[in-house]
Structures are given as C-alpha cells and as structure tokens.
Point group: D2
Chain length 144, copies 4
C-alpha cells in the first residue's frame, strides 16, 4: 500500500556550490555527482525535520538507495550554485521515494527520483519504524 | 525513428575490482559509483570495437549521459570482482542507449540503462556521424 | 625568491559537512577527500577576496596543485562539521603555497599543505599576473 | 626502530587506465585521484603477496593512511594507461611506509609516499601482527 505524501509539507531546498573536482574534461559536472547532490540534499531534508544520522543508528536502520532515475537537462559548471528541491513523495511500509529538481539560477539542470529501502545492520529489509515514517510526513521544523 | 540493435553483436563484458574508496560506512559500494562502473564498461566496449577517445575528438563530438536508471539488487563489497555486461540497445540519429547488468560471482548486483546524446564542443545536439553510428552496430573486433 | 605572506591577512575559515559518500567501510572519511576539502576551502578563500573562477579564466591561467602533504590526526565521520582554516603562506613568481588545519569541534583532524603553480592553457609554467599575486597578499573583503 | 625493506623484494607494478570521471575541467586527472591510484596499487601489491582483505579482517586490523606526500610532475589524461610502481620501504612496530612512482609511457607523472598505521577496529594504534609484518618483507608469489 502506497501512501502519497503532501508535497507542501514534504519539500525542502538545499543549496550547494559545484566543486572543482566534480567537473570532468567536458568542463561540466560529471553526471555521477548528481547522485551525491541528491544525497546531500536528502541529509539536509532530514536535518530540517530534526533527524540526525545518530537517530538512524539508534533505530538500527539504514536507508540505502535501491532504485534511481536521473534526467539531465542542462550542464552545470564549476562554482555555480545549485538549488536542490527535494520532496518526499511516497511511503510504503519499507520504502520511501524522493523526487528532486536541481536548478541553477532558475534553469532546470537535472530531475531525479530515488527509492530508498529500510534495512537493518544485516542489510535485510525491515519495516520502517513508526517514528521514522512520521518524519517523512513532516514539514520543516520552524526555528523561532 | 529508433533502430533496435542486435544484442549478440552489441554486447561486451568488462571486469573490474571494487576499490576501497568506493565503499561507504555501510561497508558496501556507494551507489553513485555504479555510474562510474557503467562508464568504464562503456569505454571498454568502445575499445573492443576499435574506438579510442582520440577518434571521438577527431569527429568533434562528445556523448554525455542525458538519462539514466539504476536498480540495485545486492550490495557489492571492497575487492570483489564485478562483471559489467554492456549492450548497446537502441540508436537514433542523435542518441544511443546502453543496458548494463553488473554481476558479482553470478549474482546480479545492479541493472542500469543510460541514454547518451551526441553533442558538439558547444554541448549542442548534433547528428551522430555515420562512422560512429556504425560502431554501435558492430561486434567486438577479433584479434587473431 | 620566496615572499612570506602575513598569516593574519592571508587566513580564512571554511565550514563544510562530511557527505555520506565521502566515508569508507572503516566508517570514517576516506583520506583522499581531504584534498577535496582543501580545494573547496581554497575556492572559498579566493571568493572572500573577490576572486571568481571567471577572473582566473580572463587571465588565461590555472593554478593546479603540484605538490601536497597531508597528516591525518583523527578520523572524521559522516555529517560532522569540519572547519578548514586556510592560510596562504608563501609566494614566488610562479607558485603559491597554502597551509590548512582541518578541525572538528576544536579537535585537529588533518594538517595539509599544497603548492600550486601558475600555468597557462597549455599547462606550461607562467608568471603569476601581478593582480593575481596581489590577491594572495590580501585580507578578506569586509562586506559592510 | 625503523627497519628498511629490500626494494627488490618489496616492489610491484600495477597498471590502470584513467577513467573519464577522474578528469577535471582542465582536461587532466584531478590530483586527489592519485591517492586512489596509490591505494589500488597497494591492494594489488598485497594480492601479489597472497593477502586478501579478508585476512586483514581476520587479524582484526586496518591500515589507514596517516601521512602522505604527492609531487605531480606531468598531467595524465583520460584513457591513458598508468603504471604505478609501489615499494614498501620502511617498517616499524606499528607503521609501514610505501613509495610510489606513477608513469605514463615511461614519463614520470607523480611521485608519492604514504605512511600507514596499524589500528584495531576501535581505530587505536595496535602492534602489527608478526604475520602481517612478514608480508611487507616478502617478494611477489611466483605462480608456476
């Protein structure tokens, strides 16, 4: 059973600058780095909902990427600022999906999706703890 | 118009060993590296059909990845040998698709597809030169 | 002739968070990433003195690393915040040296030095343009 | 007490091809990748003396890099073949040093040294097991 998540609550934006080493001889960001950018944006998404990696470990779970899709629209270059808009889109008992739109100065650079599966330390599938599932339904924590 | 390529001719296998730095704190290969493995396998696929990067440059073209999909089936670990079976599957006037099956000792680790587009030095779409298109229809060169 | 630079003027601090993919199976940051951190800190150091990569290109120069030394003191882990204190230390007609101290919550993680050489688009040594040399003697630009 | 090792016994050569993603916008191998090349060569050096990563784990030890130095002599480019000549040079009760010469078609590309320290799973210094120390004194196993 798939639970569709509310995009208004489940969206955050993460900004990063392209590193020199992330470019290749074509002078643009090498495509594999976009998975790294999505990952960094996901970590930030969780931080903005009060989740640190330590809390993951306390639950004894990991959330590896089990499927991903990337569509490259425009090359990005060294030192450009990229905004990764990350949305948790779908939740099941053992998986969560995220969608990403990566923009550079309002131009779409890359669209991506990832499906993550909840696994234990033995890398076997494990039901998402209720507290973790609840995070994916949550908006950013507003700091006052 | 999409031309389906003959998988028997258009398949090659590339073997690589997982590097230490390609693992992450879960003790397994970090997922972004599979795009690197596909790329290395693609370069090998071309070598086996007599194509070096220099010949690309002489044509004034590049073949960046414009779309990719990865499905992870099983974790791979440091120092394991991976066999990447790479098949050119579809050709159009400006794109070529590759499919990959990455195995470790006969267990499927990852399935992937990439679509590459032919671009010039200005990164704009460009018709695949006939000689390059012909390479994608070719079997491995047999060295006698 | 080596010109020693004033460390008070020539020092900046750059903060970054360790990415998941930068760890290895030992659960700590893989050592090669510290060169990436130094590079990111150097780019930030230049930004804080008004230099963008575009200005480099206008001068027709690059500043590749020609020598580096790293001493690792303590492991850093995923999601930890690292402060890279970067100091331009010595200037010659064609090279500039930087020293780095990377700390995590006041504990020294890594000490590094890099020597960069000024080269043209042909990768041959080239005298540092006077305007570029002046940047290495400069303090951070204070934004009011 | 430092034990100098016999370079004739303690040297092996590892060949690798530069990957596309290892280049940067200057069109050459990004300098951080040379630490990756040294690491791959070190793993190969150990393989050639009968050591697999599994045996390390059985001893409950790791050998992280605690110090390194790199001098870059010449740029290497995509798809070039590099030969990494690796020599174990010095042994103490807790450390081992390696020296590397990386060549491309007989031209010296990079010289490097690394010092590795023996640590346990807790990352604390640990005396090198006698069987491991003996490996560093050993020549390649000749397969007949």
């Amino acid at each position: 059973m798939i639970e569709r998540l509310d995009p208004d609550r489940a969206t955050s934006v993460y900004r990063l600058a392209v590193r020199f080493c992330e470019t290749d001889l074509m002078g643009v960001v090498h495509h594999a780095n976009y998975l790294v950018y999505c990952e960094a944006a996901r970590v930030d998404w969780l931080h903005k909902r009060g989740v640190s990696y330590q809390s993951w470990l306390q639950h004894g779970i990991h959330l590896p990427v089990v499927e991903t899709r990337l569509r490259f629209k425009k090359a990005a270059r060294f030192d450009e600022l990229l905004d990764v808009t990350t949305t948790a889109t779908e939740l099941t008992r053992v998986t969560v999906r995220f969608a990403y739109r990566i923009r550079c100065a309002d131009q779409l650079v890359c669209e991506a999706e990832t499906m993550l599966a909840c696994v234990g330390d033995d890398l076997k599938l494990k039901r998402l703890p209720a507290a973790v599932a609840e995070v994916f339904r949550s908006p950013e924590i507003v700091s006052v």
